[in-house]
């Protein structure tokens, strides 16, 4: 672990520095016209150093500077009560709840669909085109419809939002699990036949364990898709809390710094979620005898 980390630190740091440098140049270029306009109308004359600093400290910049975003993220993460409406932890928590619920339902649904497809020829032939078609519909168009339809049957709150995550996350799990459940070699299936094993025994003792690596690989994709679903689900639905709601509010009031902070919060949550799935995958596969790489 240590050796791998050591080899990575330098390249990652160099890329990070490059991104920051480009970002600062971009900040100056994007904010300078507005600042020039502002100064002209206010009759202010500045030195070029002073002008540069002004482009970096606008309250509602076109492109916020990295340090502005960093300060905002820090303040709203560590200096606020997590029950506060301004706390990023609070908004991330709201989004996380619907992400996890949607992911859990999506994973279960995906596994269920895969089991059906593998065991019933009719489902194999009929279901797959619909699954693929379902993923070509823009989720942004579908999300308000899901919320409205479910509200009509008195389903409001966490579940409708979670179902949007479900909609995005069941697909990779279903596709991965179909492949996983079909991964046992013919020789292993023949072996089960020589034991006169039942279909259920073949499933539990061969197909399911063989599909575990496929399940984790697709869960990694699915959890990231779930987060996207949760954020997108908050955008057009009038949600008052969550990273999506924060993004939308920021765009209404031109609070670009808040928007960038919300984006950062979203990526941190994504990173944590994918890492959590990865860790679970390592623990499980180690117990299932995987080679320690």
């Amino acid at each position: 672990m240590r050796a791998r980390g050591d080899g990575r630190v330098l390249p990652v740091a160099i890329i990070l520095l490059a991104i920051l440098a480009i970002w600062y140049v971009g900040t100056y270029a994007m904010n300078a016209p507005f600042q020039r306009d502002l100064d002209r109308r206010g009759g202010v004359t500045r030195s070029s150093t002073d002008f540069f600093i002004a482009t970096m400290t606008q309250p509602k910049p076109t492109l916020p500077a990295p340090h502005q975003v960093a300060t905002n993220v820090f303040e709203n993460t560590f200096l606020r009560k997590i029950t506060s409406n301004r706390s990023l932890v609070y908004h991330a928590g709201v989004t996380l709840a619907s992400t996890l619920l949607g992911f859990a339902i999506g994973t279960a649904l995906g596994i269920l669909i895969a089991v059906g497809i593998v065991h019933f020829v009719s489902l194999d032939r009929s279901l797959m085109p619909w699954l693929i078609a379902s993923q070509t519909i823009p989720i942004l168009a579908l999300a308000p419809m899901i919320i409205v339809v479910l509200a009509a049957v008195n389903l409001t709150g966490l579940l409708p939002k979670a179902l949007i995550s479900t909609y995005l996350s069941f697909f990779p799990v279903a596709v991965g699990m179909v492949k996983g459940l079909r991964s046992p070699d013919l020789i292993n299936l023949d072996l089960m036949r020589t034991y006169h094993a039942s279909g259920a025994q073949t499933f539990w003792k061969l197909r399911l364990p063989a599909s575990v690596p496929f399940l984790f690989a697709s869960m990694k994709v699915a959890i990231a898709a779930s987060l996207v679903g949760a954020i997108v689900g908050e955008l057009p639905t009038g949600a008052v809390a969550g990273i999506g709601a924060k993004l939308l509010a920021g765009s209404y009031y031109s609070q670009t710094i808040d928007m960038f902070a919300a984006l950062i919060a979203g990526s941190v949550v994504a990173l944590l979620l994918v890492t959590a799935v990865d860790l679970a995958s390592r623990v499980v596969q180690r117990r299932m005898g995987a080679r320690t790489a």
Partner: protein
């Protein structure tokens, strides 16, 4: 036909042969038209025999083994296993099958791989433990029971798969080129162990191979097969003693049988291009 198993188990009309095939044929329907994998096979294997099937690839030796195991369905003729249809025999778990590859489940330890058929067949926990201990001891893998398959060499993996096939005590053992992928030193060693095991357990063994020395060394009877269509061209009784040290392979008696096997293969045009 002379019955070499009679000294082990008195042949009586009440004991059906382990395998009996009459006019057995199997035609696969492929995209390139029908392929006759087996034609007109007449063969009786008595209990306690060690029968090897030898022939070039495509001679149907593996197919015949798979028909006995009810993994393929014959299209002509009749076959019985322990006096039953292959399907009934399979449903009564009458045989253990050892494949060309060990086919161990990578997520199970060696002992849990051996436990697999026992779990499926519903043995009690205590019985399971006893059988795992006994069969792992039989193949000298007791110290490796907690290991995962990838931690073992190819030869040890194949021994584990033999233990798995033995664990539920079927009295018929079907082995499809089990040592084909192993190097010659390991193979010699496993051949010796297999003979000892056969001696101790008095099982009936059907053994597919394409090695003449292996077939002669192991068998009480050698079935020579030839391709296009797959058929039996010769059945050679071995008069070697039951106790066979490895150097028996240099004795004139051994070489004479090996020469007859080679002649049988040549007569079946197995050496033709």
């Amino acid at each position: 036909m002379h019955n070499p198993a009679s000294q082990l188990q008195p042949a009586s009309p009440a004991v059906p042969p382990a395998v009996s095939a009459r006019g057995l044929g199997l035609t696969f329907e492929t995209n390139d038209g029908p392929v006759q994998a087996l034609a007109d096979v007449d063969l009786t294997i008595n209990k306690g025999e060690f029968v090897s099937f030898i022939g070039p690839s495509g001679c149907g030796k593996t197919t015949f083994l798979r028909v006995i195991a009810d993994l393929e369905q014959p299209t002509q003729g009749a076959i019985s296993v322990n006096g039953m249809s292959p399907q009934q025999a399979r449903e009564r778990r009458a045989y253990g099958y050892v494949f060309q590859a060990a086919a161990l489940y990578p997520w199970r330890t060696i002992e849990n791989n051996v436990a697999l058929p026992l779990e499926i067949m519903g043995f009690s926990a205590a019985d399971k433990r006893a059988r795992i201990a006994r069969t792992l001891d039989l193949v000298n893998l007791t110290g490796f029971k907690k290991k995962f398959p990838w931690q073992l060499s190819g030869g040890m993996q194949q021994r584990a798969s033999i233990a798995r096939a033995l664990s539920f005590d079927a009295d018929l053992l079907l082995m499809d080129e089990p040592f084909g992928a192993l190097d010659e030193i390991v193979r010699d060693h496993l051949n010796q162990q297999l003979l000892e095991l056969w001696e101790r357990t008095s099982k009936t063994i059907c053994f597919v191979t394409h090695s003449i020395p292996e077939a002669v060394y192991l068998s009480t009877r050698i079935v020579v097969m030839s391709p296009r269509p797959g058929r039996v061209t010769d059945v050679i009784e071995s008069d070697l003693p039951r106790d066979r040290p490895l150097d028996i392979r240099e004795t004139p008696a051994f070489l004479a049988i090996a020469a007859r096997v080679r002649d049988g293969l040549r007569a079946g045009h197995s050496y033709d291009e």
